[in-house]
Amino acid sequence: MPLLKIDNAELEVESGITVLQAATANRIEIPHYCYHPALETVGSCRMCIVQIEGMPKLQVSCNTFVGEAPPDKKIDEKYDMVVHTQTELVKQGRKNVLEFLLLNHPLDCPVCDQAGECFLQDYAFKFGNAHSRFEEEKRVRPSEYLGSQIVINQNRCIMCTRCVRFTRQISGTGELFVQKRGYDFKISALEDQPLDNLLAGNVTDICPVGALLSTDYIHKNRIWNLHEQPSVCQDCSVGCNINVFYQKDRIFRVSPRENHDANGYFICDIGRYGFHRFEEIERMTSPMRRDEEELTEIQWDEAIKVVAKNLSDAKEKIVFVASPFHTNETNFMLGRFQKGFFGALPLIEEEGITYPSGFSINSDRSPNHRGMNDVCPSILEDMASEIDQQNIKVMYILDDGVDRELDQEWKEILMKMDFVVVQSYALTEVAESAHIILPGLAPFEREGTVTNDQGRVQWLRPSLPLKGKARPDWRIIMEVVNTMGKQELSYSDVGEILAEMGKCFPAYEGVSLFRLGDYGLSINGKVKSS
């Protein structure tokens, strides 16, 4: 393996990687714009220039490869390559590059949405000059829509072409191109093909400057006012890693978080803008009881007592309906009702898409189907006929939420019930047929673990506070179970439930929130308990 020296660090690296990759992997900062690990290297921004001994000029580190030197050519008799990133020459080079990149830049950071997470801003501050020698008039061009949700501010663009390469290599849709050349060049979308694919939102993330902006976030807030919560997307079974940016009780933005074992670098627009559908819904904020046709608010104590009594009276003639939209912990808690049958509503399936880069949107639009099956006692295949055969009249449902549309078969099943308890965060179709509604948490309020279709357990972390009198779903179940009197459960958080889950299901043994961390754990290879 070649021995590389970057500044004072001696690094033994694999042959064939680039200087920039070697530096980044070893936490040595080399500023760059056009290089993105998911995209083909073009070496056009020139920001990542470094000095390499034996080479006459500064080299772009993103496109200079490390290899083995013949024995007689080694530097200091041992190094295959010696790179300097902090010499005066490099510093001056960076200053010059930045001066060019900023020639026509409007310097409008105070009104720019990228400010605070802008590489142009950061690098100019760190490596640039405070002043420009450019005294002529700046080139001013209007902003344009590239797609229905993507705006480009042409004045801020530095022509790194990350977005263009994204549409060609990742989404494979090829809407963007570089129009004209030299002073007139700009990023454009084809007239008859605007940037409207389901991955389009990613171009706003990979844009290193404030040129590409999402209309969904533009002029809504400033990044330094927002809290960033690493979490997991709940819109399909891929389980993409995301960062949720929120302020108080409102989410402003969802952006992808890098995880090579789940989603790679990107997320789709379904997950990116999906949080909006929870904003307008009327939330359940208090337990409700149906009297005749009216729903009336009742106290928690009363609601739990009524539920516990009805469940106890029904003996074993109960169906507990688990949900692939809920966390492993909530579904596991449902299994603590030891007497009764377990079922689930039919899968919500829509068209699945796999892009040329391998990024996919699964047809199974529930986040935790695999996990639900893992941690719930045997779920009935044919629930409808079982209900008829056993003459079951009581049902306890974990509601899937606002995405669920009930089919006729299910409407009929619910009509036949004498007593239906629904744990839900909104008045969904399922909740409308309930005799008691217990207000649980909406997707961005939940905490727990979810297991994606590849068997990767990931930590779903909450970003919004509880609303009204709503309680965590696992806690509601625990209270009902305790009130029924046969068991005394006393979990104080999801971590304890997770530990208990590991004891019951060997696949989850040893899984803890601490071990899951930001990137999750794969439970494949472990024996799946039935």
């Binding site: 060609r168 809407e175 191109f177 050349r181 454009s188 007239e191 093909q193």
Partner: protein, 163 residues
Amino acid sequence: MSDNNSHKDSFEYVNPDLVDNILSQYPDKRSATLPLLHLAQTQEGYISNAVVDTVAQITETHPAEVMDCASFYTMFYLRVQGRYILQVCQTLSCSLNGADALVDHITDRYGIGPGETTPDGKFTLMKVECLGSCGTAPVVQINNDYHEGLSKEILDELLESLQ
């Protein structure tokens, strides 16, 4: 060159053999983008969206990649041009010998500025960089022909002779 109103939805090369010949000269199809665009422009007079789509299909690239290329080179016309493209050289020798006056003269005569086309679609005026005939300045290239050592009078005669 075709007439001005040829906004067609589809484009096909009249001579597929030429296309095959071009493709056979390159190791990968993408490399044939430039000559294919040239061939299309000779046939159509400009690069329409239909041309872009066809070239993309032949070279197995995205239409956006073909647009990258077509919009990069100033000699590919992305709009319909006049039957005669008057390209007035702007570089040193021609400029010193009165190229600007020739441009003004054409502008006065036909009411078109650089980059514009007469309403009847006959002439398009363009300013271009060095045509490489400095010894015979000023030079105007009309379509593929050079016209050298021009004055306003000779240019007038020349323009009138064009049909």
